[in-house]
């Protein structure tokens, strides 16, 4: 449990570091932050952030999955699920 918590945090932090350059309004990033509604990142830019995440973790995140993701927390969860499956 604690190791998952730890890892969880690392993925969360990694995602935040990739999103921060697009966070023009300086919104505080939490698991609940909505990528499009809160950060006003357009849907294509979200896909590009995901591409960086894919290369970072050496996983493939299908477009089908991304289109269902709204918040940073959901993205973190999806990455964990895919990491488990693909590695």
């Amino acid at each position: 449990m604690s190791s998952i918590q730890e890892d969880d945090d690392l993925v969360f932090r990694k995602i935040c570091s990739l999103i921060e350059p697009l966070n023009d309004k300086g919104v505080k990033l939490t698991r609940e932050t909505d990528l499009i509604a809160d950060l006003e990142i357009d849907s294509v830019a979200v896909l590009d952030v995901v591409m960086d995440i894919e290369d970072n973790y050496d996983i493939s995140i299908p477009v089908n999955t991304i289109s269902e993701i709204k918040t940073i927390g959901e993205l973190v969860d999806a990455i964990h699920a895919i990491k488990k499956e693909q590695t």
Binding site: V44, D55, I59, S60, I61, P62, V63, N64
Partner: protein, 402 residues
């Protein structure tokens, strides 16, 4: 909560910019066409430098004559789909002619290029067994084809065979069919794909390669067959898709292939089966244009001469260009604001180009997309280059910080 709330942020931004410049870049009406490269807009004659009329065939005499004859003989519309009553002898003949021109065994004509990609991708790949891998900068119809298919879709980095390879390697054992989709020349930046490498990587992992040559058909390759002809891998492309709406100056689309199984699409591809076929006029115009480009290379030669002239002039003016020389010459702007104003400035100076802003543009850039036509005269291009020259000054002065 209304259905319309979600449009508000985009609408507010767009209308504000539109009102500021006093013109709507996404609602220009060509009030009267004056030939392949000119139109009257708000009473003023404008040079059209934002079209897809690469070979300038919209007024090609043989095509106009064939179109009039076809309407007189076969009527104004087919009133049915290819699958039902909408296949005439001319549709079949055009499939044969396209296959022969490209050197494939089979070809299927669709109602538009959008539907050709939609129809091929959605029929070929199916959930849950198949996976589609697409270039990240793919055209909307490739993305939409994936959605309609429902199959798992994975993007690879734009024009990056290594990125494709990594994603193919990661696929699980359970995947049955793999379809890799990419384009020849990309419509927004005018950059071209490493088609040979992408096809090789796809085949190395047992995937099929689908190549959309919408913008490169008639433009690249020794005989105008596209980037795959230039790269000498035409016979290795599994599915070659294209459109009639650019170099062929009509409306319609097609998929060509050496796989005999291509014919299966005729009873399994929804965008083939459930929409009306191209009208006799569309087919006649495309057929005549195809004849013209098969027998006359001069348009392509002129197109490239024009492209080189404009690309060199813009380079000298110091513009931030998106790609090496091709018939699409896109200038990168600093911001959406600046792009709107620059676009308007060009209109004031008698030149229409395409404005492209995010979302929907690669890397969220705002660009002015210019496309060259072989029909552009020296005078047309003088007007274009002069307008951009004046724009360059404006950008280093008044519009610098927009």
């Amino acid at each position: 909560m209304s259905l319309f709330d979600k449009f508000k942020p985009t609408a507010t931004m767009y209308y504000a910019l539109r009102d500021e410049i006093g013109r709507d870049p996404f609602g220009v009406s060509m009030d009267e066409m004056k030939g392949p490269t000119r139109a009257l807009v708000d009473g003023k004659e404008i040079v059209l430098a934002g079209t897809n009329n690469y070979l300038g065939l919209t007024y090609e005499e043989s095509a106009v004559a064939a179109t009039i004859k076809a309407v007189e003989q076969s009527g104004t519309g087919t009133t049915g789909s290819r699958f039902a009553n909408g296949t005439y002898a001319a549709h079949r003949q055009l499939e044969i002619d396209l296959a022969a021109y490209l050197g494939y065994k089979h070809c299927i004509v669709f109602s538009t290029g959008y539907q050709a990609n939609l129809g091929a991708i959605s029929a070929l790949a199916q959930a849950p067994d198949d996976v589609i891998l697409i270039d990240a900068d793919s055209h909307a119809c490739i993305y939409d084809g994936c959605q309609l298919s429902g199959a798992e879709t994975i993007r690879f980095r734009h024009n990056d065979p290594e990125s494709l390879e990594k994603r193919l390697q990661r696929l699980g054992e359970n995947v049955k069919g793999k379809l890799v989709c990419f384009e020849g020349m990309y419509s927004m930046f005018g950059d071209t794909a490493p088609v040979k490498e992408l096809v090789e990587v796809a085949h190395k992992y047992g995937a099929y390669a689908l190549l959309d040559e919408a913008h490169s058909f008639g433009v690249f390759g020794e005989n105008g067959r596209g980037i795959c002809e230039h790269d000498e891998v035409l016979d290795q492309v599994d599915f070659y898709t294209g459109t009639f709406s650019k170099s062929l100056a009509s409306i319609g689309g097609f998929v060509a292939s050496n796989h005999d199984e291509l014919e299966y699409l005729r009873f399994s591809s929804r965008p083939y089966m459930f929409t009306a076929s191209p009208s006799p006029a569309n087919i006649a115009a495309a057929s005549a244009a195809l004849k013209k480009i098969s027998s006359d290379q001069s348009m392509r030669v002129q197109l490239w001469e024009n492209a080189k002239r404009v690309h060199a002039a813009f380079t000298q003016l110091g513009f931030d260009l998106c790609a090496p020389c091709s018939p699409v010459i896109a200038v990168r702007m600093k911001s959406r604001d600046q792009a709107f104003k620059a676009w308007n400035f060009l209109m004031d100076n008698g030149v229409y180009v395409n404005l492209a802003i995010p979302p929907g543009t690669p890397n969220a850039t705002s660009i002015l997309r210019l496309s060259v036509s072989s029909a552009h005269t020296t005078e047309d291009l003088d007007i274009v280059i002069n307008a951009y020259g004046a724009l360059a000054e404006k950008l280093s002065g008044e519009l610098k910080d927009d």
